[in-house]
């Protein structure tokens, strides 16, 4: 089986993200692999362990996205490809999906590509489905379990976690799968994986390598501002009886036009 897992590098969840001079910044907090994507890496590795083959981690991003792919390598992925080009700098999810689809096509004979449910920075959650559309493959999104996989027959069965409940879906390979937390806790990198990852030379594919025409992004962020600071005033109401306090409260609420 040839398995791909797509990861993104994002600011650490513990980082304080603010807007400064119209630019989003998280200070010198480190960039990390998108936490949802760790579940995707785990799922990819579990499928490899069960059915053989190899797992390649790919990421679209600047040179600093290497940290994310190296984390995936340290977890156990066999190889990595970083797709980096100034042309992709302001990519929206549609362009990112076109880039990923082109890379998956260029790799050839890929059976399965895994994604995390969404990236914690943009929080769009559309890249997996858009990549599937670009490739013409089925998209299994919000998957909580791979309940059946037969590489020889080219079939897959998954369970999806939906608000209404669980849904079992059968489909054919090749396919795109985006996973949710229920799929299982991601493993820690192994020391052997860490040694391998820190020595890995990661090939970089550019726009030219993918022979891809990129349109202008349909989604842009023309202006970014910090949310307005909340002004909180606390007032403790007193009175001789609960009834009196309640009446004062009603008056206050009406006065403030909360209702």
């Amino acid at each position: 089986m040839k398995i791909v897992v797509c990861v993104k590098q994002v600011p650490d969840t513990a980082a304080k993200v603010v807007v400064e001079d119209g630019q989003v910044t998280w200070g010198d907090a480190p960039l990390v692999i998108n936490p949802w994507d760790e579940y995707a890496v785990e799922t990819a590795l579990l499928q490899q362990e069960a059915h053989g083959g190899d797992v390649t981690v790919i990421s679209v991003g600047g040179e600093d996205a290497k940290e994310a792919v190296k984390h995936a390598l340290a977890m156990g992925c066999d190889s990595a490809i970083l797709i980096s080009d100034p042309a992709f700098e302001n990519a929206d999810s549609l362009i990112t999906s076109q880039v990923l689809a082109a890379a998956i096509e260029k790799m050839g004979d890929v059976d399965l590509a895994f994604f995390g449910r969404q990236a914690i920075d943009g929080d769009v959650g559309a890249t997996a489905a858009q990549t599937a559309r670009g490739l013409g493959w089925p998209a299994f999104t919000l998957v909580s379990a791979i309940s059946g996989l037969d590489p020889d027959a080219g079939t897959i069965q998954v369970e999806r976690s939906l608000e209404e409940g669980r849904q079992v879906v059968d489909g054919k390979l090749p396919a795109i799968v985006s996973v949710v937390k229920d799929i299982g806790e991601p493993r820690y990198p192994s020391f052997m994986g860490i040694r391998k990852a820190s020595r890995a030379e990661i090939p970089i594919w550019s726009q030219a390598d993918l022979s891809l025409e990129v349109a202008n992004p349909a989604v842009t962020w023309p202006e970014i501002t910090n949310p307005p600071k909340r002004e909180i005033v606390t007032e403790i109401l007193s009175g001789d009886s609960p009834k009196e306090i309640a009446e004062t409260l009603v008056e206050k609420i009406l006065e403030e036009q909360v209702l």
Binding site: K70, A74, S190, F191, I194, R195, S198
Partner: protein, 403 residues
């Protein structure tokens, strides 16, 4: 000069931090209260390779360097001292001694299973009547044909009831003119006939750890289990301490960091006199001291780790790192409690555990007093490092990584 950690080090740090925070953090209070070691800790540390972190792959280890060991200890003790104690005895005091002094056959029999975490190692130097005064060791080993007969008792032994192998130092020559020269080291399987062991309860700290005693009554041990030569036991014990103290120094640095982080968090949450207490200068002073201690302790242990990688003798530097970091960790924990006020005095918060755990490390692996004597001894040139027949191997990435 390079002060940044390399990529490998950063990944090790993150991995060990993840394990300690996610898997031990949520349960440690419960086991500290019960005075028990969580049963899954040793198997899990084995599974993750932490128990063999800095040993060569050819000996069943993970092939990382000695700095990685220090970084791992810092991360482990930032969550609980008992995790780092495992590394001090299993790795620093036992497995690294096998790496340094063991014959190829001993490495095969003892080091490989320990590096894989299939067997756990502990270290027995201290006795009911002999601590800092190592020459006062009264346990004996009497040679009888191709065996030694062991008798005596070892006390305050971390992992005594959990370990499979103990590296112990006993007296083989009661008539040696200098009693230090009458000591010999052995690695002993703890399932041999005549060995009894037990846990010690009622300790001030490291309650979620295992501390106990070992007693030997006419225990037969083959000569192949002797580490080094007869009479070399004191030198071997001191070389073990060079490695054990390194892990203690790195761990105590993690404990300072834990006190600092808890204090910063609480100082921003707690309000007094109409503002957060972090705004008060006397609280700031305590936090500034913790920052100073943390940064200095970290530089000291990392230098010692770097010296180990380079194959430089580091007895003085390791002793300094251990003395400074352990004393500073106790002060930091005490001040962290002060910042937390009455809440810090209860086990609702972690800082009281930090204080109780910090005290032990000021006593074991050389009391602070012993380290002060050592530092003064070096400065006054009363003390010189003696030559060792076997030095800790230089970290050679190629040798470490190849099978």
């Amino acid at each position: 000069m390079e002060f940044t950690l390399n990529e490998e080090h950063r990944m090790v740090q993150k991995m060990v931090r993840g394990f300690a925070q996610n898997e031990i953090g949520p349960i440690i209070k419960e086991f500290d209260r019960k005075g028990e070691m969580a049963p899954f800790i040793l198997p899990r540390m084995a599974e993750l390779g932490i128990l063999g972190i800095c040993l060569p792959v050819r000996y069943g280890g993970q092939g990382m360097d000695y700095v990685s060991l220090g970084l791992a200890c810092e991360e482990l003790e930032a969550v609980d001292s008992t995790l780092r104690v495992v590394m001090s005895v299993h790795m620093g005091l036992n497995s690294m001694a096998l790496l340094q002094w063991g014959t190829p056959e001993q490495k095969e029999r003892f080091l490989i299973p320990q590096a894989r975490g299939e067997r756990i190692g502990c270290f027995g130097l201290t006795e009911p009547g002999a601590g800092s005064d190592v020459a006062g060791i009264a346990s004996t080993a009497r040679r009888k044909n191709d065996q030694y007969i062991l008798n005596g008792e070892k006390m305050w032994i971390s992992l005594a009831t959990k370990a499979d192998h103990a590296l112990i130092v006993v007296r083989t020559d009661p008539d040696a003119p200098d009693p230090h020269d009458g000591l010999t080291a052995f690695i002993v399987e703890l399932d041999r006939a005549g060995i009894k062991k037990g846990d010690i309860h009622g300790k001030l700290g490291v309650r979620a750890g295992s501390t106990g005693w070992l007693s030997f009554q006419d225990v037969e041990v083959p000569t192949e289990n002797r580490i080094g030569q007869e009479g070399e036991g004191f030198k071997i014990a001191m070389s073990c301490l060079d490695n054990g103290r390194y892990t203690v120094a790195a761990g105590a640095t993690g404990l300072i960091r834990a006190s600092l982080e808890a204090s910063v968090k609480y100082a921003k949450e707690r309000q007094a006199f109409g503002r957060e207490i972090g705004k008060f200068q006397l609280v700031q002073q305590k936090i500034a001291h913790m920052v100073k201690s943390y940064e200095a302790a970290r530089l000291l242990y990392l230098r010692a780790g770097w010296m180990k990688n380079e194959g430089m003798r580091n007895t003085r530097e390791t002793s300094l790192a251990k003395w400074f970091a352990t004393d500073a960790s106790f002060e930091a924990a005490s001040e962290a409690i002060q910042i937390h006020g009455a809440y810090g005095y209860s086990d609702e918060y972690d800082v009281e555990r930090y204080l109780r755990n910090a005290k032990g490390a000021i006593i074991y692996e050389g009391t602070s007093e012993i380290h002060q004597l050592m530092q003064a001894g070096y400065a006054l040139e009363y003390r010189q490092d003696v030559h060792l027949r076997c030095e800790l191997p230089v970290y050679d990435a190629e040798f470490w990584h190849n099978d």
